[in-house]
């Protein structure tokens, strides 16, 4: 029976490692890692798979937009330093309902700001093209859009109903396309 000297054994193991990388490179099983690590693994996979997901990206954008809308409750008179009125609770509520409708339509607003005319604006910016839906304190609703090479358009919406918001979004979406 032939025995390998320690130096020869090391060489043999190295050769085996190269021949069977999957066996020698095997990671510890999840059982060996323990339950806590397994949870981290799942979480990491979840985060990885959500990265680049349009649904998750849109949800995150709407979380931020709702935060922006909520902050408007704290906006006072003269917020623009030129005596602009504060947005009323009614205009903030109307913009919030419109935001829910827009979420259902997969629209992605760029931001929510107070209107200098007294109210709330949901803004859309795509490159140099711009549009907004404006919910005024007197309950009237207006749309506005402009883009290079296209004439500016502004109009009054009949109401802040779901149909009206959907129709407005369709109009804005078509206009914002390059």
């Amino acid at each position: 029976m032939a025995y390998l000297a320690p130096q020869q054994l090391a060489t043999f193991e190295e050769a085996e490692r190269r021949r069977h990388p999957a066996i020698f490179g095997e990671a510890p099983s999840s059982e060996l890692l323990g339950p806590q690590r397994q949870e981290f693994m799942y979480l990491r996979e979840l985060v990885e798979s959500s990265r680049g997901s349009q649904y998750v990206g849109l949800e995150q954008a709407y979380f931020e937009l709702r935060d922006q809308l909520t902050l408007l409750n704290g906006v006072g008179e003269n917020w623009d330093t030129y005596n602009a009125p504060a947005p009323s609770p009614d205009s903030i509520g109307a913009a919030g309902r419109a935001l829910d409708i827009l979420r259902g339509l997969n629209a992605q607003p760029s931001g929510i700001v107070p209107s200098a005319e007294g109210g709330v604006g949901i803004c859309f910016i795509r490159g140099q093209a711009y549009a907004h839906i404006e919910f005024l304190n007197d309950s009237s609703v207006y749309g506005m859009m402009y883009a290079p090479g296209k004439g500016p358009q502004n109009w009054q919406l009949g109401a802040a109903s779901a149909d009206s918001i959907q129709e407005t979004w369709n109009r804005i979406r078509a206009y914002l396309q390059p």
């Binding site: 917020w79 623009d80 330093t81 030129y82 005596n83 602009a84 009125p85 760029s110 931001g111 700001v113 107070p114 209107s115 200098a116 005319e117 604006g121 803004c123 910016i125 140099q128 711009y130 907004h132 404006e134 207006y142 506005m144 859009m145 402009y146 290079p148 500016p152 502004n154 009054q156």
Partner: protein, 175 residues
């Protein structure tokens, strides 16, 4: 006491009226400056909905500072802000030639509102001016508040050159 300029004779001579009379000789290349709240920039850009457009007072236009008598940062000074500090604002700039000269009305034949700058100096802020509006286009005639669709078209047309430039930010000067 200025915040964004050194407190010296040059500032006082530039910003305060010092007995100077109103001057209505605007050059098309002259610039007009206006404050804008920093926190309502979207992607670093001002949006027209947050810009005042001749809608509040029945008898006054849109306030601006005129570059003939003002540096951009002067519009942030307490002298030009009724004594208030405006650390939370950036400065928007546009040329006199970029102010839409008129906007047609939709409900009148050949009806239009005309817009032009009017120097309205204040004792502590000689550069203070207004974008005046009426049907005649005569700054000597009373201000007329245009209807909503005219205001919206005005601000959408004015927003284009404003958005093409980066808003100006200023830090207080060290004493």
């Amino acid at each position: 006491m200025p915040i964004y300029s050194l407190d010296n004779a040059a500032y006082t001579q530039r910003v305060h009226a010092n007995g100077r009379p109103p001057d209505q000789q605007f050059d098309p290349a002259d610039r007009l400056f206006r404050r804008y709240p920093k926190k309502y920039l979207i992607n670093g850009m001002p949006v027209p909905i947050a810009m005042q457009a001749l809608q509040f007072d029945q008898n006054s236009g849109m306030s601006v500072n005129w570059s003939r008598y003002s540096e951009p940062q002067d519009v942030l000074e307490p002298d030009c802000c009724e004594g208030n500090h405006r650390h939370d604002c950036v400065v928007l700039a546009f040329a006199v030639s970029e102010v839409p000269p008129e906007v047609a009305t939709v409900d009148e034949i050949d009806g239009a509102f005309r817009f032009l700058p009017k120097h309205s100096p204040r004792i502590a802020c000689h550069a203070h001016s207004e974008i005046w509006c009426n049907r005649s286009g005569d700054i000597g005639q009373p201000f007329e508040r245009p209807p909503k669709h005219v205001r919206d078209e005005f601000r959408s047309r004015l927003a284009v050159p404003i958005q093409a430039r980066t808003p100006l930010s200023f830090e207080p000067v060290a004493d």
